[in-house]
């Protein structure tokens, strides 16, 4: 027999799970990603490089800017273009805005109802209105940054190869500096709330992240490896899912906030690092539900870093000029940490500037295997010892910890 989770709720996109029971024991779990395929790599083939980041942004609404930036980095590397520090700082600012928006949405609106025992944040708001409101305030600030840097809250087209369409004004940067300072107190409170979540799911055999905190030029793993994604990660297709599964050196691995804070704690800002030290032993337990605590610590990081960058740009001033690009044949990979983990955009471009090869791997696709393993372990632990409602509820909570973004995961291709 089998138990079906028809559709995961409070997650982005459409997916479910099948728990297969044999002789009164959990035998297997299949995570079924049935969101329709969207064929983004096919969409970008033959397209002029300038238009590609705008198309790729449409892969995902929650992290459109991560896609734009990864796309732009891949294109610039293919052409051998270097942009000045100020442009990289502005891009990082956009990525921080996205981290703030996405983590706040996930923690306050999607996960918090589990901790407080509600079906959603709207129902939770009647008793815990202040927490929901704090979450919405932080989220709105993240969106403000996305709107300024990215061009609009969702699917802006302002992030371009070589720079930006429009550069932010002094007033906008000042507002970012002030508001991030003001919101830090709320984010610190979030760390306390999410530190109490129970341990759910599996422990990953390996953690993988990008070498810089939010963007970089290669991947790193907990075994000390520095690598390009195609060297150590293998993907395979499944008959029951539009998302592929991947393994790192043949083993199940995890990407996301938990791997980031553990692998890159030295890059954290002072208050975030202090919080990391405080919860270090807990985080080292490695259960995937600790991803939520790691996200709360990252909210603090993102607000501190936003303040730092806004101030640095205000002090230093910036030109607001794009680097001119001459199309030529080339190949490049953009590595970005989307809020839910490693995002890869890999292109080959022809001499006219059109895309000749395109491969995109999203965090949810990287996490697909560990997600399935987590459901398996959680189901094995709980089957028979709790009523079916609690059983299914805990499995959903386990999936939610990954902050899965299912829409993103369903178009992985190697052409």
């Amino acid at each position: 027999m089998s138990i079906e989770i028809e559709a995961f709720t409070r997650v982005e996109g459409n997916g479910g799970a099948e728990i297969i029971i044999e002789n009164g024991e959990v035998k297997d779990v299949k995570v079924k990603i049935f969101e329709g395929p969207r064929f983004f790599e096919l969409l970008t083939l033959g397209r002029h490089y300038w238009d590609v980041p705008d198309l790729e942004a449409r892969i995902c609404a929650i992290c459109y800017l991560s896609h734009s930036v990864a796309s732009v980095l891949g294109i610039e590397r293919a052409f051998g273009v270097e942009v000045p520090e100020e442009i990289m700082l502005l891009r990082e600012l956009g990525l921080l805005g996205e981290l703030i928006e996405s983590h706040a949405l996930h923690l306050y609106l999607l996960v918090a109802p589990d901790l407080f025992g509600y079906a959603d944040a709207i129902r939770m708001a009647s008793k815990h209105g202040e927490i929901v409101k704090e979450g919405l305030t932080i989220k709105a600030f993240g969106n403000y940054i996305r709107e300024v840097i990215g061009g609009r809250e969702i699917h802006g087209i302002n992030v371009k190869p070589g720079g930006f369409g429009r550069y932010p004004t002094i007033e906008e940067l000042e507002r970012m500096e002030m508001q991030s300072e003001a919101l830090l107190k709320l984010a610190r409170r979030a760390v306390g709330i999410f530190a109490n979540q129970e341990y759910l799911g599996a422990k990953a055999e390996h953690y993988v992240a990008v070498n810089g905190y939010l963007y970089g030029d290669e991947l790193i793993a907990d075994d000390g490896e520095h690598f390009d994604y195609f060297k150590c990660i293998e993907e395979k297709t499944l008959p029951y899912s539009f998302a592929k599964q991947s393994r790192y050196k043949g083993e199940v691995f995890m990407v996301g906030a938990l791997p980031r804070v553990i692998l890159k704690y030295e890059m954290l800002t002072p208050m975030a690092r202090h919080l990391y030290e405080e919860y270090k032993e807990k985080l080292a337990q490695g259960y995937v539900s600790l991803n939520n605590l790691a996200q709360a610590i990252e909210l603090v990081y993102a607000l501190e870093r936003t303040k730092e960058i806004a101030r640095a740009l205000l002090d230093k001033g910036f030109e607001g000029e794009n680097v001119p690009i001459e199309p030529k044949e080339g190949e490049g990979i953009g590595y970005v940490e989307a809020p839910r983990g490693v995002l890869v955009h890999h292109y080959r471009i022809d001499e006219k500037g059109n895309i000749a090869y395109s491969n995109i791997i999203t965090p949810t696709a990287f996490n697909h295997a560990i997600m399935e393993l987590s459901l398996y372990e959680e189901a094995k632990k709980r089957y028979g010892s709790s009523d079916e409602m609690t059983f299914l509820q805990k499995l959903e909570e386990t999936v939610r910890a990954f902050d899965p973004c299912i829409s993103c995961s369903v178009h992985v291709v190697r052409l």
Binding site: G36, F39, L43, R58, D120, I157
Partner: protein, 246 residues
Amino acid sequence: MMLKLGVFELTDCGGCALNILFLYEKLFDLLEFYEIKEFHMASSIKEHDTLDVAIVTGSVSTQRDLNLLHYARNHSKYLIALGTCATHGDVQASVEGKIREKLEKVYGTRANPMKALDSTPIVQHVAVDYALPGCPYDKDEIYQVLMNLAKGVEPPTKDYPVCVECKLNEYECVLVKRGIPCLGPITLGGCNAVCIKSQLGCIGCRGPLPKEANPASEFEILKELGYDEEYIRRKFKTFARGELRW
């Protein structure tokens, strides 16, 4: 009396459902009039019930999407197709080739156990009461439509190009002044010319004007600016499939 609302997501980027949450305080205003019966991104509640309003986002890209769409249509008084995926198919519908060929290129097999379909807008499958395009749509527009419906007022429709809002904002014309390919003249307005604010050309994400668009003339202008025909053809169909002809 509270109205019953369902939000159904077919295949898309999640943005159209997300944008409803981006209404912030206005979302709570709406909840004075609406009771949410189905909204899987935001709530674990799912009540099988007859709805007053069903919002459907995304395009039909699987058999499951199609079944869900028919369910929403058969269980609602008003059905709103929300976002360009729902109204025009959006980017996934512009990917050329038959589904089996595409599956083979991406997954290495022509087998189709998950019942994927060639992506199509929902308006092609069921009658809709209101179609609000945009990738993403303007969130105030859905707020207004829901408020109007709650108060029994017929929501107004927009029929002017992006250029109108560009002029109202006094932005410099990027097409005429800078030779940047801008689809503003043939694209339905309602976004407040947001991309031209960034001094970039309109990419056509709200789909073509329902009437009086002149894609042939736009095509000629872009050709004169030196863009090749294939480039223009692709640009035209990105959000609207084959709708813009010249």
